[in-house]
């Protein structure tokens, strides 16, 4: 067991959540982060879906990494990711239909998410299945956390609710408070994201560009 969570493996799992975050540091997967974060619930589901798909596609590619011919590796990776995306999409349609309607094409578009192909190319093709799995979970988690933070603030400030439950008391509205309609539009997701990046880089000097 200690072998499974050695220092190196732990770093593989945790570094994408913070210092090597796929969204805020590598600036990947921005498109879906803008599209699905107007409410918290789709943001959570999207984050989980990406996490599951990244983890399992990493494992599968890592298992067959020695037998994939180098020249057609991208197409093999795409087939694996496409199969997993289809499975997740069908599961969502069966068990969480409302959310899958809200997410619409964006579940299908996970296949084009740069984080996935990036992890397959950069990590799974040259590492054993278990570290690859951890890497997938870590990157999925890093992506999910950013989506959830953005989704939380956008839903709170844009619709005055969290997970569909109104949390801002009526007294506020009576006193003249208004929901910020701009929060529900994609530009504000970009600005929220920029604020997170700003906060992270001002805390960690080593992330700042020279």
């Amino acid at each position: 067991m200690s072998q499974l969570f050695s220092k190196k493996n732990r770093e593989v799992l945790t570094s994408p959540v913070g210092m090597n975050n796929p969204v805020t540091v590598q600036v990947l997967g921005i498109c879906s982060a803008l599209a699905v974060t107007a409410k918290l619930e789709p943001a959570i589901v999207m984050g989980l879906s990406v996490m599951v798909i990244t983890a399992f596609s990493n494992v599968i590619i890592s298992l067959i990494r020695h037998s994939i011919p180098n020249r057609i590796r991208i197409i093999v990776q795409l087939v694996v990711v496409a199969a997993l995306v289809t499975i997740v999409s069908e599961i969502l349609k069966a068990y969480a239909y409302d959310v899958s309607v809200q997410l619409s094409v964006y579940i299908g578009l996970i296949i084009t998410n740069c984080i996935l192909m990036g992890r397959l190319e950069a990590f799974a093709m040259s590492n054993a299945p278990w570290p690859s799995f951890l890497d997938g979970i870590g990157n999925g988690l890093g992506y999910a956390i950013i989506l959830i933070v953005v989704g939380f603030f956008r839903e709170l400030l844009g619709s005055g609710a969290i997970l569909g439950h109104t949390v801002i008391p009526q007294a506020f509205y009576d006193a003249g408070y208004l929901n910020n309609g701009l929060m529900l539009m994609p530009p504000m997701a970009l600005i929220m994201l920029a604020c997170i990046i700003w906060w992270q880089r001002s805390r960690h000097k080593e992330l700042q560009d020279k």
Binding site: L178, N180, G181, L182, M183
Partner: protein
Amino acid sequence: MKGLRNYLNKIKPRFEEGGRLHAFRSVFEGFESFMFVPHTTSHTGTNIHDAIDSKRIMSLVVISLLPALLFGMYNVGYQHFTHVAAFTQSPLTAGFWEMFLYGFLAVLPKIVVSYVVGLGIEFIVAQWKKEEIQEGFLVSGILIPMIVPVECPLWTLALATAFAVIFAKEVFGGTGMNVFNVALVARAFLFFAYPTKMSGESVWVSSDSICGLGQTVDGMTAATSLGIASTAKVADAYPAFSWDMVTGLIPGSIGETSVIAILIGAVILLWTGIASWKTMLSVFVGGAVVAGLFNASGIDTAMANMPWYEHLVLGGFCFGAVFMATDPVTSARTETGKYIYGFLIGAMAIVIRVLNPGYPEGMMLSILLMNVFAPLIDYCVMQRNISRRMKRVSTNK
């Protein structure tokens, strides 16, 4: 003035490094250099200095905005008293000074909020970066209250000002580095975030009594002329042209209604050479040409059939053309570029008005859009010049 200078000299040491009020150094410096031209000059290299510095330019722009602001105050009162009189079917009793005082009291809190929030952020940033206070907000701070409806809540105004100063200016590097016009970003923020307080029929005329002046009435509505035209069902249902549209005695954002007051501002700006007549003129030409084309096109909406001269005097068209499009930071800087930039602003504003019924006023969006394209226009103009001169070199060989 001499006394003030002596007083400033006396208290100056307190703000220097190690002084008791060191935390307010940037505030002191900002105030000092606003009142007196600083004597310091650059010690390195060769520098070309203009006769006036940017603080003096800013104060001239503020002066040129004053006619529109003062008229806006009067108009706020005028609209309130005339609409209340019509709404309650009672005779109009208020005189000129009562109207002006009412408008002054309605507008003053907005100016205070805009300056306190905006300058507060500027002072904090200047202190934090150990820089001199930047003067750019002097103009933005007075523009912001002038381009909102009178019923816009103060807290949304404060939020929008903070958003605009931080995200449209400070993150780009402060005064002179911004891509977008700061005041228009504040307005765009308000427009998209709180649409119910920025458009419609209940925000253009104040319906409260202020300090015992005026009268509080419920349910009073008044649409702007452009609002009426955009919701009209019949093609000729736009409001007929009247001289009130030129003098400015119509509902609208606080500073934008009076063409005459804006014209006085334009004369000051052009006479002092601060604004470019090329940009200003081409905005009007662009608007007139496109509105004329729509008039001739036979589209049967009221907006498309509104005469071109009416398009030019209504809404924020004049205000945008004179005070926003000519902003030296965000507009095109090449001389040919200014014609293209201005023409496209005028043209786009009318296109948005006519073709998008959701936005009765297109000036704000059109200026923001062209702010993005200004560097591209400059680039193309310069490249064209370079290639023309290259050709001359190669033919002379």
